[in-house]
Amino acid sequence: MRHLIVRAEKLTKFYGPQRGIEDLTFDVEPGEVFGLLGPASAGKTTTLRILLDLVRPTRGSVYLFNLDNRKNSLLVRRRIGYAPAEFPPVRRQTGRQLLHLLASFQPTANYSAAEELAACLNLNLDVPVHNLSVGGRQKLNLVQATIHQPELLVLDEPSRCLDAEARLAYSRWIHAIRAEGRSVVLATSSLAEIERLCDRVAILWAGRIVSLERVIQFKSRLLRRVEIRFAEQIPLEPFMAIPNLQDLTLERSTLRCTVKGDPDRLIKTAGQYRVSDLICKASNIDEVMRAYYEEGTYAA
C-alpha cells in the first residue's frame, strides 16, 4: 500500500443546510508541503478541523498515516502538530508554562526544538501570554505546534500577523521540515505563501476544490499587474506580440499590463529599452478565482 500521510476521500461537511465543504478528495505525501488556498469561508479551516477529528464529517473519510482518523483519533493526534487560526488569550501563564502544559499530553515532547524555533522567531517564552502582541501569540502558536516533532504539521493561516523577519524565519522552518521528510498541510489565503512554500495546492471555493495542481502549474496561471516606466518614448508593437499580456496600455513612456504566468518575455522585451522604474503587483485571491471562473474550471 502506498504510504500517504493524508488521504481524504469525498470529504463533506454540512452545518445544517449550509455547506462547509463538499466532496473534497486529496492526499499528502511524505515530505510534501500541501497548501489549501481559498478566500474566507472557502472551507479551509473546516477541512483542517476534520483532519484533526475536531469536526466530524457529514460524509467521507480521512486516513492519516494510513489510519482512520476517527477510529484511531488519539494515536493519530500524537503524530500531528496543529497551529489553529486563533490562539487563546491564556491568563496568568507564560509561554513556557503553556508549552509545558501542552507538552504534558505528548509523550515525545522535545523542548529544545521548540526553544530553537522560538529563538529563530525572536519570541520570549517567559512573557505572560496575555502580554504578547498578536504577532507574538502567533509565534507561540507555531512553536507549540512543533514541540513534539510531529510527522505532520497542520497550520491554519500560519503567517498571519507575523512581521517580515518572523515570516522569513517561518519560511526557513517550513523548508527545514520538508528537508527532514516531514509533511505540512497549510491553509492560507496568501498566494505568495503558496508560491514560496508549497509543492502542491488545492484551491478551494465555496467548499469545493476547483483545482488541485502542482505549484509550478499554479504559478503559470498567476496574474501580475506590471507598470514599467521607461526613460524614453518606446513603441507598443513589440509588447503586443507577447501572448501572455493582457490589458496592455502605453501612456507617454509608461507601459501598463497584466502578465499571466511567466514574465520572462516581458522582461526581455522591456530590457531592450532604458527602464527607469518597475512596479509589479501580484494578483489577489479574488482575481485568481475570477481567472478560474473565466476558464470554466469553477462550478458552484
Binding site: L54, L74, E86, V90, L102, F105
Partner: protein
Amino acid sequence: MRPSVFTLTFNSLLKPFLLWGLGLSAFLLLVTGLYPAIAAFPDLADWVQSSFHSLQAFLGNTGPVISPDGFVFNLGFSLVIPLACSLFAILYASQLVSTQDERVMMELLLSRPLPRWRLLMEKFAALVLDILLICASLWALLAWRSSVQSFGFNLGNQALLLLSLALLSLCWAGMALAIGILTRSRVRTIQASLGLLAISLLLYLAPGVSGGLEWLRSLSLLAYYLNGNLLSMGLNWGHAAVLVALSTVFVVTGLVIFQNRDL
C-alpha cells in the same frame, strides 16, 4: 503544581471563587453575628419569629427561628445561600465549554492526544473543587462561630448541611454544563439555567400559596435540599441520593453529547 487542564481551569476560576467565597462568608458572619443581639431582646425575637412564620408557610417547616441553629438555617441556609451557590455553579459551569475563549483553548488542547471525556471531566472537577471549597469554608466559619459564641451546633450536622448544599450546587453545575454543551452559547446557557432555577423555586414555593399542591415540590430540585432544619436534623440520605443521581445524569448526558459533537 503539575500543569493540567484541571489546574488551568482552577486558575481561571480562582478570582470568582475567592469573590463568591468571601461574599458568602461575610453574609454568614453577619447572620451568626446578629443572633446573640436578637436573642437578647425577647420582643425583637418574637417579632422575628412571627415574621418568619409567614415565610415558613412557603418554605415548609424549617424549625423554630429563635434558636442558634434555627436562626442561622432560616436566615442563611433556607434560601439565600443555596440560591447564591446555585447561581455560582450555573455562571461558572456555563463558561467551561461555551465561551469563545474556551472554544479556542479546547481546539488547541484537543489537537493533542487528549480524550474529550478527560478534558471535560478535568474542567468539571475544577468547578466541583471550587464548590466544595466554598462549602468547606462556610463549614469552617460555622464551626468557628459555634465555638466562639457557644451556639452548640452539631459539627456533624453542619458538615451534612454543607454536603447537601454542595450536592445541590453540583446538580445545577451539571445541568448548566449539559446545556452549555448543547447550546454552545454561554448567554443561552445562563438564560436557560436561570429559567429552570426560577421554575424550581416557584415549584417549591407554590404549595405555600395554594394547599393541595404539595406534590409540586417533588419536581423542584430545592425540595431535595430543603428538608426541615438540616442544621439540627441532619441529612435526608434519600434526597442526597436523588441530587447525586441527577448530577450524574446531567454530566453523563453532557459527556455523551460532547463526545459526538463538533468542537
